[in-house]
Structure formats: C-alpha cells, structure tokens
C-alpha cells in the first residue's frame, strides 16, 4: 500500500549519534513532576496521591489542575509547617497522623502514593521508610508506595515516570507464586486514555498477541505478573526510570517509535509484532485498513499545516515524536525542538526519522530561547501556559503543550485529532484575519 505522501527514508536522515544538541541551563519554564498527579489520579481510579510538601506544592497542583475541580479530588497535600521544621513536631509522627486522617476519611482508597516534593527532599524526610512503616499498619487494606515529584529532581512528565517506576517495583514475577495474577507476554507501559487502550487491545487481538496488559492498570489490584520472557513496549518517551526497573526485573524492551501519528503507530505495532514473530503479511493485513482510514482523516489537516514552520519549547517530553509526525506526515517545517532532556536510547528510532537540519536543544534558558524563537518567527510555537498568551500578544500563534498530555492523541484513529490540535490555532487566526 502506498502512503499518501512520500516519506524520506530513514537512511537519508542523519544518524542520531552525530547530532549536535544545544545544551542549556538557566530558568526553566516547565512544571515539576507533581503535575503528573492530575492525570495519574484519574487513571488509577482507586489510588490517592498525598504530596508531602509546602503550600506552594498545594497551590501548584491546584492551579495546574485547571484551577479547582468540583468533585473531591483523589490528591491532597500534607503541608509542612514551621513546627515540623523547627523539630517541635516529629515530621514522621505528623505524617502518620495525616495519613490516618486521610484514610479514615476515604475508606475507598486501595493505594496511597506518598509524593515527595522539593521541601521534603531538602529536609531529607525519608518517604520510602515512611511508606514501609505505614504499610505495616494498613496492609492489606491499603498499599502505600512513594515517589518523588520534586522540581529539583523531576520535570513535568517525569513525575509519571517516577510514579510508574514505584508501581513497577510492585509487579510480581512468576504466576505460580501469585495465582491471583495473570502472567503476561507483553506489558504496555505508560498512561493512555481508556478509549485508546480499548482500540489498542482490539489491534493486539487482531494481530494475534493475546497475553498482554496495560500498565498502570485502571485499578490498583489489577497489576499483572511478569513471566520469564515478558517484553514491554513504551507508549511514552519519558519513562526512563520505569524502563530501568523493568529491565532490572528481567523484562525486555521492544525498541520502537512512539505511537503518535500513522507512521509512529504503525512502527510501534510492527515492532511488537516482529518481537512475537508474527507474519509481516498478516500485520499488513491488519494495519492496512487502519492506515488508510487514518491517512484519509489526516488529509484535511495537511492542507492547513503543510509548509508551516513550528518551534517547540521544552515541556512534555513528547516534542521529538510530535515533531517527527508533524514534519513527515503533515509537511511542517521544523525550526528548533526543545526538550527538557533527551533519552537517546529510547528515542533512537525517532531521532533517525528527523531531518538533519533541525536544531535540537536540551534543558532551557528561557530568555535566550525566546530570543531564538522571535528570531525564527515561526508560524506556530508549542509552549507551556506561562508563555502562551504573552507570545500570542507578540503576534505568534501558539499551541499549549499541556493539552497534549491530557488528550487522547495516540493511535491510528487519533492521528487526525492530534493534527487538528495543531491546525486549530492557525484556522482560528485566519478567521480573525478575514
């Protein structure tokens, strides 16, 4: 089957090892890892996230959550006060008291994450020991885990990575020791919208891969079991620590591009199919109609986006796969792609698909990067919420990157939705220009 647009071959693109990457440090206009709680608490529906931090942490999560949701949330902050710092109160005893108060109030909670923050890290409050201690009291009613979402250690989506890494350590191995859990051949790792999970399940079934599970599970009790030959497939490019934990447990990563856009999704499924020795003809038979439908849907957005230039400020870590999709499938011109950090190994397949002339930057010095952006004068800027309106006021068209982590964008049937997210600001601009 021919694709609608000719694609550059991977060989024509430059080898990822040779790329010069601009490394900067300075002011970062990026959220910290606590922000991930906003989608994680919706994903694992019986889990509660207790940030152990300051009023700033509470204010950040509240502000980033779109400023106050009306339902009682499944996250909260244990706000450290001066009594805790002055040693007047034993911080550990205080934490135990707060956890007791919380779990009494919410008997429906099956899993509690103690989430470390900048202040808790700096005062060296050991949350892993606290989790161990509290587990003794609350097991089996509640499992208590911990991870750090602090800004001194994590950036934005790394919070999800830290959370999933903590959860991955809980994955049992060998079903014979854990009869309640099922052993899987394939673990699909990273938060996906439920609708995308369901689509992916159908495709795996059609391909003939039947023993698989999504991680994190929707309910904390549904954690699958690792077998001796379990392989895993990442859905997000920011799961460094989680992958390391799984590697240590003996699971094998299937190298693949990320399932964004038609090409990325196809490459992702094809990598899985290959790993399980599935006949390429069968794969083509399964994928072809989905590819065709997705390309048809992309056509409308391509007319808007083709030839337009785009600049990425570092934010969600999705920048490289997104740039690859927008360039190769929609014909956008890439200027600079900024990422908080670049994991060369997990992004190897993606980097190979990028054109040689694009500049990549890692880290951030926001003022300098703004200067470069103004200099490029791109047709579209992808950035965080702090920068978007000021750039719009300067006459630039922007796309907020945070929306990309809240919206179902992975897979064949979401490729056009993803493209539309980028087309919308441009379409809007033309409406006002008329």
């Amino acid at each position: 089957m021919n694709r609608v647009i000719p694609l550059q071959s991977a060989a024509a693109a430059c080898d990822s090892q040779d790329r010069a990457i601009l490394k900067e440090r300075g002011q970062r206009e990026v959220f910290c890892g606590l922000t991930g709680i906003i989608w994680l608490h919706r994903k694992i529906q019986d889990a509660f996230f207790l940030v152990v931090g300051s009023r700033t942490c509470a204010h950040l999560v509240q502000s980033a959550a779109g400023v106050m949701i009306f339902a009682e949330p499944r996250f909260a902050t244990a706000i450290i006060d001066d009594h805790d710092l002055a040693g007047l109160a034993d911080a550990n005893e205080e934490l135990d008291r707060v956890v007791d108060q919380l779990l009494t109030r919410r008997p429906d909670i099956k899993m509690l994450f103690l989430v470390g923050s900048c202040p808790s890290e700096v005062i060296k409050l050991d949350l892993s020991r606290a989790a161990e201690r509290l587990s003794k009291t609350y097991t089996p009613r509640v499992r208590i885990l911990n991870y750090s979402g602090s800004g001194i250690e994590t950036t934005f989506t790394q919070g999800e990575d830290a959370c999933l890494a903590a959860l991955a350590k809980e994955i049992p191995r060998h079903a014979q020791d854990h009869p309640a859990q099922r052993e899987v051949d394939l673990l699909i790792v990273g938060c996906l919208a439920d609708v995308v999970e369901d689509q992916f399940s159908r495709i795996f079934n059609e391909l003939g891969i039947e023993s698989y599970a999504f991680f994190p599970p929707r309910r904390s009790g549904d954690i699958p079991c690792l077998g001796p030959n379990t392989r895993y497939l990442l859905v997000q490019p920011f799961l460094t620590e989680t992958a390391r934990v799984l590697d240590d447990m003996g699971a094998k990563r299937i190298p693949a591009p990320f399932p964004l856009g038609v090409e990325g999704t196809e490459g992702w499924f094809a990598a899985a199919a290959k790993a399980f020795g599935i006949d390429p003809n069968h794969v083509e038979k399964v994928i072809a109609p989905k590819r065709q439908r997705a390309n048809l849907a992309l056509e409308r957005q391509r007319q808007v986006l083709n030839g337009r230039s785009i600049f990425f400020f570092p934010d969600s870590q999705l920048e490289i796969p997104l740039a690859r999709f927008l360039h190769r499938e929609l014909g956008m011109q890439l200027t600079e792609i900024g990422m908080p950090y670049i994991h060369r190994q997990h992004l190897a397949e993606e980097l190979a698909l990028l054109p040689a002339e694009v500049s990549l930057s890692e880290g951030q010095d926001v003022e300098k990067q703004l200067d470069r952006c103004r200099n490029y004068r791109p047709d579209m800027v992808v950035c965080g919420l702090g920068l978007a309106n000021p750039l719009e006021a300067e006459g630039m068209t922007t796309k907020w990157s945070i929306e990309l982590v809240f919206t179902p964008i992975q897979g064949f049937d979401q490729a056009a939705d993803l493209a539309e997210l980028f087309a919308r600001p441009l379409v809007r601009r033309t409406k006002f220009a008329a």
């Binding site: 440090r25 002011q27 970062r28 206009e29 990026v30 959220f31 910290c32 606590l34 922000t35 152990v52 300051s54 009023r55 700033t56 509470a58 204010h59 950040l60 509240q62 502000s63 980033a64 400023v67 106050m68 949701i69 009306f70 009682e72 909260a76 902050t77 244990a78 450290i80 006060d81 001066d82 805790d84 710092l85 109160a89 911080a91 205080e94 934490l95 008291r97 707060v98 108060q101 919380l102 900048c118 202040p119 890290e121 700096v122 005062i123 602090s150 800004g151 001194i152 250690e153 950036t155 003022e367 965080g384 919420l385 702090g386 920068l387 978007a388 309106n389 000021p390 719009e392 006021a393």
Partner: protein
C-alpha cells in the same frame, strides 16, 4: 503538618509577585527550583495578561545543592538586571530556597547594582499569599520613603492654599479580585468629589511613584489585606491619615464619600453623586420583596466578607446565617462583624470545614469564593462569587467593579440572578404539577446547563442527615424517624429548592421530640415551628 485538599491562598512569594507584576520598572529575582514557574500562568492564563510577570527564577536542581546555589543566584540576578534594566530589584526565596538559606538579600547587595534592591524575607512555612503581598508592599514603601520621613516632633506642612486636596489609592495589585475595575470606579468618585489622586500603588506605579507617596494629604486604603501595614507606616512617618471605610455597597460608598470629604476638609453634595445609582431603588422595588430574609452564608477574604454581610443584611434584606474568612490576619474584625448578626464567625482555611458549615446551615444563597461555588454546586444552592481565590471567571471582559455606586449595581445583579426570580418562585409553588414547572426544571433564565437529572435528584434525597441524639421517649433515645407514606407524599409537594431544608427540619423536629415516625401532622407541626 496539615492535610489540605484545596487552598484559599498561595504561598507568600506569590503575594510578592502580585506586587511586582502590578508595578512598572520592578523585577523580582526568586531563588526557586524548577516548577515554581507555574506561578507565571496565574497571571498569563487566569488574569490573561499579555506579558510575563517580571520574575526571574534561579531554577536550581538537586545536583546544585551540594555545589554553589549561591553563585547560581548571583548569576541569575546579574543577567536579569542586565536584560530587564529595572528601576528596582526585588530579591527573595520561595519555600525550598528558604530551607537552603542562601540569603538572596546579602548576595544581591554584594553585586553592587546601581538601583535599589529590596530583599524580602517571607516565611513560607508560616505565612500566606496576602501577608506576602502586604509585607512586600510595606517594605517597598519603607525603602523608597525613608529619606522623606518627618523628624520627631516635626509637623506635616499644611497644603498650600489654592491646591486641591490629594490622596494616594493603596492596595490594588495584579491578580486581585476586580481590583482593576474598582480602581476605575474609585478614581471617578474621587474626581467627582474634587480630590486629586497623587499616586495609585502598587497597580501601575513605578518605584519613583512610591517615593512620592508622602506628597499626598491622606491615603485611601481599598484592600486592607494588602495595604494596611504600609498605610500605618505612612501615617506614623508622614502624618497621613487613611480611610477606614471600604466602599462596597450603596451605604458604604456614601459613608466612604463622607469620610473622604472629612479627611480632605471639603464639602460635596452626596445626594447629587448618588442620584444615578440603581441598586437601592431596585432593592426597594416590589419585585424584590421575595428577597426578604433569604438565608445567606458568606465566606471570603475579610474585606469582601464583612462588606458583603453588610450589603446582604442592610441593602438586600437577606438574613446573614453564616459569616467567615480565611484571612486570619483580620479574624478579629470578622468576629466583630459576625456578632452584629448574632452568629459566630468561621475563621478557617480548611475548605472541608467551610463545606461542613454550609451543609449544616442549608442557606438559600452562598456568597463566597470559587471554592464555595463548587460546594454550592454540589449542594445545589445558588451562589455568587464575592472574593478571591482568583479564577479566570473573576476577570470578566466587561466592566464589573465591586466598589462604588456601579459596584453596588453589580452586586445587586450578581447576587440576585442565581436565585429563582420572584414570580417564578411563586408559580412553581402554585403549579408544581405543570409539565414545565416539574422538579427537574431549572430556573428558566439559567438555561439547559443547569438541568437536574434523576440521578443527582436521588442523591439529594439520600444525602445522609446529621442526626443529633437528643430526646428520650419511652426510655430509648430516638435517632431516626421514619416517614409515613402520606407525609412523604406531602413532602414531595414542596418545591424542590426548599424540600431538602423542609425534610431536614422535620426530621430534626421529630427526633428532638422523640417521634419515631413522621406523620402528615408532624410535617405541618415542624413547618409551624420553623416558619419565619
């Protein structure tokens, strides 16, 4: 350590940012880790500002902690100074940097910049946003005013003959609840009275304006949470008195005008100024009689809560059944205000406590912040927003002040619109079997978005009722009363928007009298007992 689901105020450095962002020619270098830049979006997204707040964050990381975070701060301060060329540099630490004790003030002083440096110490583990704003403003007024301080015993020079009286307007900040529009309204009022405005601060002021504050005859304090401490310092050191009346509501605006005239030593025709106000007449018009003694619960910052209680009680004819604030600094004032309504003030920053109090009181209207709006939504009680914490809806595109005569008009509209309109309420009472007036029908002016579903209706019915164990009948205390079918049927004839209260009242009445069943008679006995 305190378990917190939602917070009413941010940390104190957010208050400092509100001052820096309100002003011109000021830059704030904040020693802070990555993530603290979230604060920018409060201004760019919630307030929809078209520029970034003038703040540089040092963004230190874990790996810097063993090394030289102080050097990182100096670099950031130096390059911010070079890039933004401010007339004044504010320096300070967010909560995490406070713990590593780098002393931003000392470090900045060592840079020997050629502009004033304002070092801020805002204890993040004790204090909150409004305190941070007040402290920052006070420190800035002191720093830039100290050269003009009257020497001990020295009297303020009288205003030269022929010059009109002048005042400063103190308090409006960035990210303030309707500050922008209040300011327009108060400026207009002062112009009509014949008082010249010397400086407005912090909103729109430059550092050089702050050093001119002493030139005014007196100060108009619009937001005591932010401006009280600065105004006290100005009073002490320059002999400038300040206004105490907050011009929210028709009566308070009149009182404010009188106070300004006294301080300015001029006369003005207040009746002439009030002529075009509508709020008072609207409240007097017969259509408003249905507002009489509506039970209202009020919660917000101290200034707005106290003012709202006055307006609710004296200008709208409501009954204030609850009054509270999260501003602990002004708790005394709120307690005093509450005692005038024969109630006890709720002083808390715990959202759950507020929710519990509202649930107990079952008011007919809530005047609160966006947090209470969510409580109101869940409990299906009409609500209007009168105070920060700030939300994108608190920056409406239209002109919408809270202060002055136009502010009073805005209050009338905003508080009355969530309620069922007078005639509609009566019609529902009379024709409740009419298909358009069925239980599920929302107030007609609120549109389809507010329609009730059978599911959330059931929720209301099955809501647990707090059951006090009081009365003893036949030896055993009655803790629960069962509704007889006939009484239940009659209960369902009561309009849905008062049914919850009627149900609770009747059950309480029954339990207090040790009745294990509720009959038709019990329902009407309770109605007679609780009737206003």
């Amino acid at each position: 350590m305190k378990l917190t689901l939602w917070t009413y105020e941010g940390p104190p450095h957010i208050g400092a940012m509100r001052i820096a962002t309100a002003m011109e020619g000021v830059h704030y270098v904040l020693h802070a880790p990555q993530g603290d830049t979230y604060a920018d979006l409060l201004f760019t997204m919630i307030e929809r500002m078209n520029k970034r707040p003038p703040v540089t964050y040092t963004t230190f990381q874990a790996r810097d902690l063993g090394g030289d975070t102080a050097e990182l701060f100096k670099d950031a301060a130096r390059s911010a100074y070079a890039r933004f060329k401010p007339d004044l540099l504010m320096v300070g630490a967010s909560c995490t940097a406070e713990l590593i004790q780098d002393d931003p003030g000392g470090l900045a002083a060592a840079l020997q910049l050629s502009v004033p440096v304002l070092p801020l110490e805002l204890p993040a583990y004790q204090k909150k946003e409004n305190w941070g704003a007040a402290e920052t403003f006070y420190q800035m007024v002191r720093l830039l005013g100290k050269d003009y301080v009257l020497s001990p015993g020295e009297k303020r020079k009288p205003r030269p003959a022929g010059l009109p009286p002048s005042c400063n307007i103190l308090g409006p900040t960035a990210l303030g609840f309707r500050h922008r529009d209040d300011l327009v309204e108060i400026r207009k009022l002062l112009r009509q009275i014949g008082v010249r405005v010397n400086v407005v601060a912090p909103l729109g002021a430059k550092p050089e304006d702050i050093s001119r504050l002493h030139e005014a005859d007196f100060n108009v304090v619009l937001y005591p949470e932010v401006a009280n401490s600065a105004a006290q310092w100005l009073s002490k050191n320059f002999g400038q008195p300040s206004t105490k009346t907050i011009p929210i509501g028709f009566n308070a605006t009149r009182a404010f005008i009188e106070e300004v005239c006294t301080l300015a030593q001029i006369h003005c025709d207040i009746d002439e100024l009030t002529k075009r106000s509508r709020a008072r007449w609207y409240a007097l018009s017969v259509d408003s009689t249905y507002l009489t003694n509506k039970r209202v619960f009020i919660f917000g910052d101290a200034t707005h809560a106290i003012a709202a209680a006055k307006v609710a009680s004296q200008e709208m004819g409501f009954q204030v059944v609850g009054l509270g604030t999260y501003s602990r600094e002004l708790a005394r004032e709120v307690r005093e205000a509450a005692s005038q309504y024969g109630i006890e003030a709720l002083i808390t920053d715990d959202y759950l406590e507020v929710e519990q109090r509202i649930t107990e009181l079952q008011p007919e209207l809530i005047l609160g912040s966006q947090m209470e709006r969510h409580i109101a939504k869940r409990l299906k009680i009409p609500c209007a927003v009168i105070s920060a914490p700030i939300h994108v809806q608190d920056f409406p595109a239209r002109y919408s002040p809270q202060m002055g005569f136009e502010g009073a008009n805005v209050l009338f509209d905003t508080w009355v619109h969530p309620l069922m309109m007078g005639l509609e309420e009566h019609l529902i009472g009379m024709f409740r079997e009419d298909f358009e007036f069925h239980d599920g029908a929302a107030p007609s002016h609120l549109g389809h978005g507010h329609q009730r579903t059978p599911a959330n209706e059931a929720n209301v019915a099955s809501e647990p009722t707090p059951v006090p164990e009081v009365a003893v009948a036949n030896g055993a205390p009655v803790t629960e009363s069962v509704w007889e079918p006939e009484a239940q049927k009659e209960l369902n004839k009561i309009p849905f928007f008062v049914r919850g209260k009627a149900k609770r009242n009747t059950e309480r009445f029954a339990i207090e009298r040790g009745l294990s069943t509720i009959s038709l008679e019990t329902l009407y006995d309770a109605k007679a007992h609780f009737g206003r």
